[in-house]
Amino acid sequence: MLHSNFQKNTDMKKTRYFIGISLLALTLVLNSCGSFFDEKSNGNISAETAITDAGTARAAIIGAYDEVQNYYSSYTTLGTITADNVVFNGSLSQYLQLDQISIPVDNVVTVAAYQGIYQAINSANTIISLVPSVSDPALTTTEKNKILGEAYFIRALGYFDLGRGWGGVQLRLTPTKDIASLKGVKRSTLDQTYDQVLSDLIKAEQLLPDVTASDSNLRNRAQKASVRALRARLHLYRQQWSDAENYASQVIAETTKYNLVTPYKAFFTAPYLTSESVLELTFSTNDKNSFWNLWYLSNLGGQYTLKPSDSFVTKVKDPTIGGSRSTLVAGTSPNVYGVLYNSTAGADPFYLIRIAELYLIRTEARAQQNNLTGALSDLNVVRNRAGLVNSTATTQVDILTAIENENNIEFAFEAHRWFDLVRTKRVGAVLGVTNTNLWLFPIPGSDILSDPDVTQNPGY
């Protein structure tokens, strides 16, 4: 009896203890009830509080630059492998498609560039929309204007890069907050796209500071001269020759800031940010640019997908055509490879605008306005820097051809050649691609499916 009572007692104690444990879990839930389901990421912030003060506004514009960095490797590929300087040498068929100008609507490189550009534009749109209403004493009007100016510049660059690749595109000028608000935006014409670029550039020029030559961000963040340089290029693309000349001249005139460097390879040899650069995107070992990998031999750790064409190698190594620009390639046949992007540590910049381009913009603008002497003088500045004698061209036609050829060598591995040939409608004559439909890249196929407002470029 005694024993059984004792047993009962301990059992009861155990029972209480046990029920206690089992209720503990319930208690845990209830105690933390309000926050039980509130999980927050430590690598992201809420969209609602993304731009609220000086710190977040600064972070947002940095993020927008980061997105320009992100799209420039695919964009540079689009401007090079499509033309005659670079051929496909890898195994990834998206590059073969670009090389053959047989680009399906889901070509990875065109899709990545298109998507990346719009990401940068959405970042810029958000900044343009939210930064004006930030009230934080730490954010001065000057800095606010600078951030806004940079956002307008990045949006201009984005739409310009879209326009020259895909033609007139959907103009999205407000930040994407939800899916419903995306409806009803049709594609604009190329002129409308370029008008938007111009309007953004005008605002950017007003808002941005004119920094001194010693400013550490002179060449890798937008300021007045970078806006003018992009504007010169825009006018060139729109064949507004006098405006192109005017804006190119404004940048060239800033000789304390911008000069052609010698030797040619100095601008793509560390330390970067040479006076050649009007705008370059800086990378570092902690913020790597792995574009070199597409150019380098596998013996050097690369993939060797983008290979300088035999015809280009012949030209660039010809002392009367390439001059010191032969340093763009290394290796011996058949394994010649491009070395514009050569930092295997990942520090290669993307060279968005070099002062050489402004000379060549002005050359072309002058030649088109029949100022042949002026044109030749600018052309020869670029030629002389490469160690070449003056051009022997005399007629307008010959000078324009000489400019095309000079552009080809000078910017061989930058995002130029394809877009220049499209701009001058010479793709058929030079590359043999006579089907003008193929002169524009396809809008990503998934956008055609997911967005009833967008139309595909003809021929795709």
Binding site: S22, G34, E39, A50, I62, G63, D66, G90, N122, Q303
Partner: protein, 1034 residues
């Protein structure tokens, strides 16, 4: 502010759910508990089968009276008698011989019933409870260890389930040991959310997420279930239909795999078991490459044809070699494949006293890959311990600790993979340069350099542990509380020295990752089992419970590049170093209840409901409710069925229910986010990364199941048949949004997927004599998968080539290609189907040409025993799936791939008018790409080799395993003090019948994405393995 406004809704909801289930419980106990209080002497006892396992639902009565009871889940019974002793107990249980026992005084009795060998009377572990199979209305398959252990070459139990259970499709994605597998129960339910089943080991919800980060070229890197030693497993139960899985609510939609490991038995002597085996594996087949001269002939032919197509004189073409015959052939593949060794040692001790039981298992497995240098090693230890503290309280623990080591070597879609570097390089190119250094071509590394220098270690430490306590409040009402942990930690160290291309440019590069996945689960379950009425006509099995589940994922990584010498490999010694870290956490709270009622052993009706709240979802739609119900009719209990004298057992069942899915989507999927990962000019930046969806909620699967199980011919033939119809809706879909929004997709509940199928299996005892027996097990399953609703097509796969597509009206894992109709025998050019009939070949002419899902899968096992010999033959088969042969895609390229060689199949190309073949004329011409039947599309052009000619039939029939074992006669072993010795030899993958042209039809190289099944891409094939072993029991 947000917290405050959020507080009441979520809190009240929680409380409400808790209250709901407890009200349910109190109703149960109020109704049934009170009805049984009686006076008199209480007889107690236990009913066991011959294996000393409890028999549930046995009827125990006093002979000649109606007094009696039905045994509970532990085989225990007790009831009150008014008669005086002695009495005669009459025990009846279906599937067992009736037995009478005389009882002279009131002491607890243990009665052993002998078996009638009825398969329906198995006891199976189902959601939160143990049930007799005959009462279950759900579709459940249980497999015992002996069925599983015939494939000695498998490193995980999941591989062992292949071809063994209906409705379960298991594919080893590659032949790499410890490598990933694809495991689907009744088809693929989802597109973006998880499709893997819920794995439960001894009550612990374990994670099957791969943690290895080292890139493998879109192949999922590992199978985390290989952390569990298959030798420790007692049985595996697979819950398939909604009735069985709904109790797991949001976790159950993809089916549930319940693994029960071995436990000791009470009052048994210590049993020591030692197993040793050794195996040798080889590739069953190798790639057939063109030799050096053949490769040059093909390349030259392509160059000449291209010149002709371009309107030039073919003599101007640039040739590889004017005299192909003079070229040498370099066989790289022989360096890559080897005979691999596998060693397995397993030691276990089990036993128990009258109070406690124990099982201790120790295992060691060392498995090399047939492709150098991959390997897998596992050390495992297990302790299962139970103690009956008092007759009311039992505590126990299940603890699994394992350490795995993998030499991770990338193959598949990776140009610097070992197989790729040996396979793709043209055979006339030398392996070494003239100066003796490693030669590399195109994007490919040198295979010898890789084999000698690859240094990618992944060390996993896995702890799966559970402690529980059972408290019997009354004999019928039990409370269990269980606390579980699954901690998976993987530490990776990779070093690329300057001898391999990954390390050349950077002067040596290293990376290190420590990744942890931790799942914590607490659960309380209150179970009520009771039979009452005359002869225990009414039987109730009910439970109510709750769980709280928290999942943590975190990863820290470091990389370094630029090392002073190849001997310095610590990241701290590198010139430049970087670091990363990430973390995510999600929580789940659940309340559930389940009840079943059986009348007279004939009719069972059951139902369950579960409420789940998940932190992943938007505050508006956090809670999901998942009900289910089913009925079972044990027709063989009916007199009119008995009179037919056909069925020894006949059971019909039907069920319907809902289950949910929230796995596979991000922990913060419903929140609007800006990512902090971008930086510029050494300054941190932020950018929009995800659109908010406060309405994001559960993906739901509705499933209807009808099934029958019957046995005939004196239980010698048992058959099981099931039909199911699953419909998954409100898919957690990453719906593509226009890129112009700045986003690529938006996770929302959109879309629907259907899976319908049938399952058939039988077990037959063909011959059963004293010395010789022959049994057969056959199963076949059919599943038809269909996407019923999708926002827009989603094309994906093969590194942007988008060979797979998700398209409404077609199955998941469909292939999206240009359909080659024929090769024009006049021109030698490929002609494709012009789908839109516009006379041109454009991207609009791509179409779905088959999918990677088999129509039928199954297996056939025959076991023959003669005296002490046993022969086991297991054939598995897969029918009706397609495989995209990426090796042909790349290596039958017509000359377009300058750095890649040719497979033999390229030799079948069209050469002259009149040739009939499906391999078109060689050329790299790129003009007129829209012309159908133009030479540009033979290999390049619009089609770019995305042609159905590389899509193969993946059906196969395979002698998966054959094993012969011999048990030494007891007369010999007894003298040595050993109770049993078994020696065996077994072969795995001995014969494969298939039309597939690649190495192995059991392959899935792009398995890291669930929607890109069925690729073969430089993947290690399943090896052919011979294993010998010995199994000694003391």
């Amino acid at each position: 502010m947000t917290k405050l406004s959020h507080f009441p809704g979520s809190c009240i909801q929680l409380l409400r759910n808790y209250l709901r289930v407890y009200v349910f419980l109190s109703v149960l106990s109020g109704t049934f508990l009170g009805a049984f209080a009686q006076n008199g002497a209480t007889i107690k006892g236990k009913i066991l089968d011959e294996k000393k396992a409890s028999i549930i639902g046995a009827t125990v009565t006093i002979k000649g009276t109606t007094a009696g009871s039905v045994t509970d889940v532990n085989g225990d019974f007790k009831f009150v008698v008014k008669q005086s002793f002695p009495v005669t107990l009459e025990v009846r249980a279906i599937g067992y011989k009736n037995q009478e026992v005389d009882l002279y005084e009131n002491v607890p009795v243990e009665i052993v019933l002998s078996d009638l060998s009825n398969r329906l009377d198995e006891v199976v572990v189902t959601g939160y409870s143990t049930q007799s199979k005959k009462y279950i209305s759900g579709a459940v398959t249980t497999l015992n260890t002996n069925v599983l252990k015939d494939n000695a070459a498998a490193s995980s139990f999941s591989e062992l389930l292949q071809g063994k259970a209906t409705g379960v499709q298991v594919t080893s994605n590659s032949g790499v040991p410890g490598g990933s597998i694809t495991f689907r129960i009744r088809g693929t339910n989802s597109i973006n959310a998880g499709v893997d089943p819920l794995y439960i080991v001894d009550g612990v919800f374990i994670s099957s997420d791969n943690l290895i980060k080292t890139g493998m070229g879109n192949q999922a890197q590992s199978n985390p279930l290989a952390d569990i030693n298959p030798d420790d497993i007692e049985n595996v139960t697979i819950l398939k239909d909604a009735n069985a899985t709904a109790i797991y609510g949001s976790l159950g939609a993809n089916g549930v795999v319940i693994v029960t490991t071995k436990r000791g038995k009470k009052s048994t002597k210590a049993k020591i078991n030692l197993q040793i085996s050794h195996g040798w594996s080889k590739a069953a087949k190798s790639y057939s490459l063109t030799n050096g001269p053949q490769s040059a002939v093909l390349a030259n032919e392509s160059a000449r044809n291209t010149a002709i197509d371009n309107g030039k004189d073919p003599s101007t073409a640039t040739l590889i070699s004017a005299q192909p015959d003079t070229l040498k052939t370099y066989d790289r593949l022989k360096d890559v494949f080897k005979t691999a060794n596998t060693s397995n040692y397993d030691l276990s001790i089990q036993g128990g006293s009258d109070k406690d039981t124990y099982f201790i298992g120790l295992g060691y497995l060392n498995q090399q890959s047939i492709v150098k240098p991959s390997a897998f090693t596992r050390y495992s230890g297990r302790l299962n311990y139970d103690n009956q503290i008092t007759n009311k309280i039992k505590v126990g623990t299940s603890l699994n600790l394992s350490r795995t080591w993998r030499n991770v070597s990338s193959n598949d879609n990776n140009p610097v993979g070992v197989i790729n570097s040996a396979l793709f390089v043209r055979t006339y190119l030398p392996v070494y340069n003239s100066d003796g250094s490693y030669a590399r071509y195109g994007a490919f590394d040198n295979h010898i350099a890789l084999i000698k220098n690859l240094n990618n270690d992944a060390v996993g430490l896995r702890a799966i542990g559970n402690i529980f306590a059972d408290y019997a409040i009354t004999p019928d009402l039990k409370l269990r509380s269980s606390w579980s942990l699954d901690n998976n930690d993987v530490y990776e160290n990779n070093y690329s020295n300057t001898s391999i291309s990954a390390g050349i440019a950077t002067n040596g590069s290293a990376s290190s990752y420590d990744t942890k996945n931790q799942v914590l689960t607490n659960e309380q379950v209150l179970t009520f089992i009771k039979s009452f009425g005359k002869n225990g006509k009414h039987y109730i099995n009910a439970l109510v419970g709750n769980t709280i589940n928290s999942s943590l994922y975190q990863s820290t990584g470091a990389t370094g590049s630029g090392f002073a010498t190849n001997d310095l490999t610590a990241i701290s010694t590198a010139a430049t170093t970087t670091g990363t870290s990430s973390k995510s956490q999600s929580k789940l709270a659940s309340f559930f209840s389940k009840a079943s009622y059986t009348y007279d052993n004939k009719y069972t009706i059951d139902g369950s409901i579960r409420a789940d709240g998940s932190s992943k979802f938007g505050s508006n739609k956090r809670w999901g409710y998942f009900p289910s119900g089913g009925v079972t009719w044990n027709a063989s209990q009916e007199k009119f069925v008995n009179k037919l004298k056909v069925f020894d057992e006949l059971k019909l069942r039907g069920s319907i229910g809902l289950s949910g899915n929230q796995s596979g989507i991000g922990a913060y999927a419903s929140q609007g986010l800006w990512s902090g990962s971008g930086s510029y000019l050494s300054t941190a930046g932020t950018a929009p990364s995800q659109l908010a969806n406060p309405n994001l909620t559960w993906e739901t699967t509705r499933q209807i199941d009808f099934g029958t199980e019957f046995s005939v011919l004196k239980n010698r033939l048992s058959v099981s048949l099931d039909y199911y119809d699953k419909y998954t809706y409100d898919l957690l879909l990453a719906v593509p949004v226009t890129y112009s929004s700045g986003f690529a997709s938006y996770t929302q509940n959109y879309g629907a997927v259907s899976n319908k199928g049938f399952e058939f299996s039988f077990h037959s005892v063909n011959i059963s004599t004293k010395d010789f027996s022959w049994t057969s097990d056959f199963n076949i399953s059919h599943n038809k998968n269909l996407i019923k609703k999708l926002a827009s097509d989603i094309a994906l796969g093969a590194s942007g080539r988008n060979i797979s597509i998700l398209k409404q009206g077609y199955a998941i894992n469909s292939f999206y290609l240009y359909k080659q109709l024929y090769v024009d025998s006049k021109t030698g050019n490929a002609v494709y189907e012009d789908v839109n009939k516009d006379g041109k070949i454009t991207s609009a002419d791509r179409q779905v040409v088959g999918n990677a899902n088999p129509d039928f899968t199954g297996g056939f096992t025959n076991t023959l025993t003669y005296k002490n010999f046993e022969l086991n033959l297991f054939v598995s088969f897969v029918h009706g799936n397609k495989i995209m042969n990426m090796n042909e895609f790349f290596m039958v390229h017509g000359g377009t791939q300058k750095n890649i060689g040719f497979l033999d199949r390229q030799l079948e190309r069209w050469q002259k008018a009149g040739d009939i073949t499906d391999i078109p004329r060689l050329t790299t011409y790129s003009g007129d790409t829209n012309t159908n039947g133009g030479s540009a599309n033979n290999y390049g052009g619009v089609v770019s080799n995305l042609s159905s000619r590389y899509l193969d039939n993946g059906s196969f029939v395979r002698l998966k395993s054959a094993s012969l074992s011999y048990n030494l006669p007891k007369s010999i072993t007894r003298k040595a003090g050993i109770s049993n010795v078994k020696v065996y030899v077994s072969g795995t993958n001995l014969i494969t019948l298939t039309k597939y042209r690649g190495l192995d039809p059991e392959v899935s190289s792009q398995s890291s994405n669930q929607n890109t099944a069925g690729y073969d891409w430089a993947t290690a094939p399943q090896p052919r393995t011979i294993t010998t072993g010995i199994n000694v029991t003391f």
